[in-house]
Symmetry: C2
Subunit: 345 residues, 2 copies
Amino acid sequence: MATLVDIPEELIPLQGFLAEGMGLVEGRMQKQLASDLPPVQRLCKHVERYHGKMIRPALVFLSGLASRGEDRVPTVHDEKAVVIASVCEMVHLATLVHDDVLDEADTRRRTQTVNSLRGNEAAVILGDYLFSAAFNLCSQLSDQRTSLRIAEVGMTLCAGELLQLDHREDFSLDEPTYFEIVKRKTASLIGAACELGARHAVGTSGESPARLERFGMALGVAFQIQDDLLDLTGDQAVVGKSLGKDLEKGKLTLPIIHHLASAEATQRGRTLAILADATGERFGDAHTRGGLLRSALEQTGSIEHARGVAEGLVREAREAIAPLKETPAKKMLNLMADAVVTRSW
Amino acid sequence: MATLVDIPEELIPLQGFLAEGMGLVEGRMQKQLASDLPPVQRLCKHVERYHGKMIRPALVFLSGLASRGEDRVPTVHDEKAVVIASVCEMVHLATLVHDDVLDEADTRRRTQTVNSLRGNEAAVILGDYLFSAAFNLCSQLSDQRTSLRIAEVGMTLCAGELLQLDHREDFSLDEPTYFEIVKRKTASLIGAACELGARHAVGTSGESPARLERFGMALGVAFQIQDDLLDLTGDQAVVGKSLGKDLEKGKLTLPIIHHLASAEATQRGRTLAILADATGERFGDAHTRGGLLRSALEQTGSIEHARGVAEGLVREAREAIAPLKETPAKKMLNLMADAVVTRSW
């Protein structure tokens, strides 16, 4: 969490609690992924390097604490919250492994991707293993609620990916469809992590699970828009994964959608020509084309537009949990929301 | 089922009951896979063509009936059995869709594969969607037992696939490792279908679920060996899927393993050269190499060896359920076991 936000002194005990929780989640995942087969062990070991910021587990813990509304940071982690957090992270890891296959990405969190290191086949099966392990772990809870919700989110994530795939190279993709894709493929799991964390803490009563789900959904969409921006303007060494992949794969991002919708005809035509010039015959290599694209986007204020939308979503997230009692957990959630749009990783 | 075994007259009512069950399973799957998004609908519609013999749903129903030991065929299907049967079939469909990606197969059940028609990306995500839908459906049951077992089987299937992948092009693969792979990647789901069907019918008491699991495991391994044989000797038009893929993908099958272990040095060397001649430079095209391979395998009696092992497994399957009361369902299970090694599809 230290890399995620600058922590004010008053939140240091909470940060310690979260760090401890992450350790428990890592242990729980290792135990759940354990296999008697060396090839399975090796791949799971490799995926451990993907655990980066563990945003979803942090959201599960923080949503639970924020819902309870206690000022004091607890001293002991609750086993069920650790399970829910581990399940959310494993589903996320599974999608990362499969996304890297789809995107033909070579680098993820400064490490080689499973597909580039061990082939697409291993990556497809490893993703399935992670999904199954996540479902198996949530089936160990005393009731079906988490399993049902997580499997539903699994379906939603895939539906979002399929919708995106269907609109690949669709240069007339509009903002409503873009948001539909992002809500499903990125925000749904983040929203579910928040909701499940809250619901576990306070049960089915009260409105905090619904508030936290809205917080997570808005945060998730903002997160994706920031990812879009980093794919265009980020520094690969800082972001830690292959950049420029969105455009290479024909995925239209928010800045591009805004640009194509607002540019005048000549400029629009030129941008479409840059996007279509996959071989770089007309406009030069990927780096040069990236530069041309950025200038074009700046002319229509499309980078600023996307930033503005992301900032609006952060405000929406903050508003969703505004009625909750002021606790260290709520403060941390708000700091995380702010960090989503200021991050450069 | 009509294509699966020749049905004696006394089993016609049971056949009707199973046919009705298949209809319910198809309906349950359609309902579970329903989506508001046209690209998801289109892919799910395509996968409907994969529903072939629905062996796993049939095994769920028959295992339930055989465990109950009733002579009379019931008139109404039990909703929970339909759910379990649908879950098993959806997990199976998910593995088919992903297997076709791994195998780069073009044809499945006489229809184009999702990967060849819509690309690997759509196939990877569709497989994930099917997995999630299966887990979601079993999470709708009143207790976690089925979810837990199905997710565990999911992990087992993947572990088997990863073990197989790890031994690709491994010409010293031995029979114990081969059986380890097959038990996990093929037999585990068939064993679970039988066990879950039985357990649902009779609860945790009694030994019939364990007996039916053993029946299903033995049947599953026999099934895979017959698949191995068909990949070498089958007629693509009858089998309905791309053949010769195992060898092309460096997967050693039982006849080849036996041959390499029992051939004398010169013959072994020549077979290895045929297997390594992927471009056909030395031995001619795939068809010619297939012919050479079959003659070599016949010389060491390796086709017969594999047939013998499969037949032994069918006897093992029959013995596992021998103590159960003689009912139409048990008779049908035994007929299915026999059909596994005589089938040409």
